[in-house]
Amino acid sequence: MKPRVAFFDFASCEGCQLSVANLEESLVDVLKLIDIVAFREVMKEHSDQYDIAIVEGSITRPMDEERLKKIRANANILIALGACAHLGGVQRMANQWTPEENKKEVYGIANPADIADSNRFFEKPRQKALDEVVKVDYTIPGCPINKEEFAKVLIALLTGRKPPIPDYPVCVECKKKENVCMFTIGKFCMGPLARAGCGAPCPTAGNECEACRGYVDHPHEKAQTDVLEKYGLTVDDIMRRKTMFTYRYVEKPKDGA
């Protein structure tokens, strides 16, 4: 019997699910291999009977945690899809400040009533990755995910192998593409820490890598910080780069969290 696969989303832009929907012609092949029983991006009906849950988005509120735990209980395999689910996403940057500070920043302080905690959507939002709430079996990193990699992970699962997510830095793929290194043209790059698998699209297009796929298992962070300093970044700038997608790695619990 074909494995039943269900997609779910939490706080996210749904870009990763869209990448999956955009597998286009190959999606036809993928569909032959699995039964998709829930996928808001491409279908209306859905079922709670599934083997593999593919979950996008970060966990923000207590009600999200409950829902995620239910999904986990239903699924044999749970896959975190994309940077939000893997790391907490760009929205995790907000964890640097207290919920009150964030509300003030977003809504101003003109109307104090708005920042009262009466509205339940403002219940102290804190961004979490899925694995901070439930056990995650596999992660497909990236913002957005790389659709070829998505297909590879699916193939690996269907053929009983470990998903082939590399544990070497983006520089490796970048070098194989023979790119001009960002550092040699006065830009900065998180490629030496970032986990490869994306094929280094950002430096290939002349943009700095922001480590949207998180770090390799044993990143040489200190050496990277030295390099960024040597190339002229201030401590604040370095911090900003390290918090874009990867605040998870430096986060310290805040009051009000």
Binding site: Y168, C171, K176, E178, T184, P192
Partner: protein, 642 residues
Amino acid sequence: MKILMKEDFKAFVNALIGDPSLDTVGVKAKGQKFVFDSLDSADELRLDYDVTILPPKKYFLPQYETIVEFDMSQPFSAKRPEYPRKRVIIGVHPYDIAAIRQMDSYFLDTDITEAYLRRRKNTLIIGSDVITVSPTAFFGDMKTGEVKSGYDLFITDLGDRVSFEVGTEEGERLLRHAANLKDSTPVDLQKRKAKRNSANGKAMRGLMAKPNVWHDLLEKNFESIVWKNQSDKCLACGTCTLVCPTCFCYDINDEINLTLKSGERVRTWDGCLLRQFTVISTGEVFREDIVDRYRHRFHRKGRYLPDRLGFVACVGCGRCSSQCVPDIADPVKMMNMLFESSEHVIAEDGDRDAHSVSIDAKNFDLEGTISLHMPKPATIIRAEKVTEKEMFFEIEMDDHKPLGHQPGQFVEVSLFGSGEAPISVSSPPGGNTFELVVRKAGDLTNKLHLMKAGDKVGIRGPFGKGFDAEALKKKNLLFIAGGLGIVPMRSLFNHVLNNRPDYGEVTVLYGCKEPCEMLFKDEVAAWGQRKDITHLLTVDKCPDGECWEGDIGVVGKLIPKVKFDPKHTIVILVGPPVFYKFVIRDLKKLEVPDENIIVSLERRMKCGVGKCGHCQMSGVYVCKDGPVFNYKEIKDNKEAFK
């Protein structure tokens, strides 16, 4: 020497581009840098380039290369892909030609790599003198700014004209595309000489330690603090190895297509600075500390390859130094730093340099080469689960020929879609079938556990250096096996039992974690029936409910319990990495001479034939020089028992 005026030269290049039998590649600009790439027009060609981001090795050992195409819907279907049409590369600098010749020596030594040879024979090299010198280049110091061979044609940009030197007949034939070829004048020759001298002079960066002292310098300063000081700044990004024209290490992975029916085995660049380079499925990492990886790269270039192939594996292109972001990969700086801080007198090693021993790739015949990575079909005759984690297989090659192995050798077992793994042959030599015992550890081994009699597997090998059963004749033998170590040991042990009169006293000590993990239980029981061998068994622990009559404790504890003459017994040890440290210590307490200890070691492996680099233990390739070693030969190998 011949001359083409610039306009005629352009016409020549355009004629090459227009030749449908050729893929014409040359140096082009990419942003502020340069790359080798397909040429669309002679106007793109930049003979004034300083250095390319990647060396031309990408045309002989591509970043990604399909080495086997397979069809999983068939019992066994593998074919090698088509190779591209003939290629001509315009503008290869002398140092890169020297590097290609090093690659020739590496890939065309005892095992000829067919894919490499095919590409090599299929590629014409138009060398070119260096006009602009990159600030990090030091080919002047390395004496690789000039080459006498290794090209089909060699050109020099002399401003309004280009000079041509013919290297091979095939190169000469390319000149049919050239119109208005003239003989050179003495002035042209003089001009060329001046250009060369100037480039070589500029490419001197004050290397204090000449290439012929690198070997001794590295050897004597293995423990220098310089390694740690520098490697603390290392990002472990792999760049210095990937961009290096004399780094050849590669990885191999299977990729399955979306239909789940077919796929490809893909070879791709790897590098020793990356942590995953030495990781094995148990999670063990043989070079965990970055300092070990950082140091290995320099030692490989200045010591290990020189020992193996006779040349210094650096041609002074300066790519590593210009592309290492923290700027710690530069051989000039490293060697000078070592040289200045060295407390030892450093010996010279003749006139050894980066020029390879003379080997001419074009003279190699493709007939008779083997595709190193193409497995042969074989059939599982018997498959039995023997413990919770291990399965026993009896296998026959589909050509019905014996495997032809020596005890202690291994094969690469291959399942399309799941990869390959080195597995020791467990049966003694001879016979039309051979036996393996496989522990569930990862992708390939998990799949093997689902297989049954009649299923097909791929086999490459036998590989490596096994036990020398001849040399052991008449000797007293003490076998000590820890855990899965019994599997390779059995190939020798059963051979000895089959030829028992040829050997002296035979004792075997076998230990594993728990009674349920004991392998070959029937054979072990039969040992007890024989009067001509002594055996003792032990387990680390015996959980409640299991019965056990042997000892409890690590296998080393059995050593004092058997009588053997430490001075006149050959001890054969096979076990997991931790096992060696303790057992060897116990044996040394009894004053067993080093040369009487024989070990079989494990490292991450991919190719099994001394090419991919994964199994390197300092300068030793475990897959080829081992896995069986005499302890005396490797006890001083810094990475052997780390």
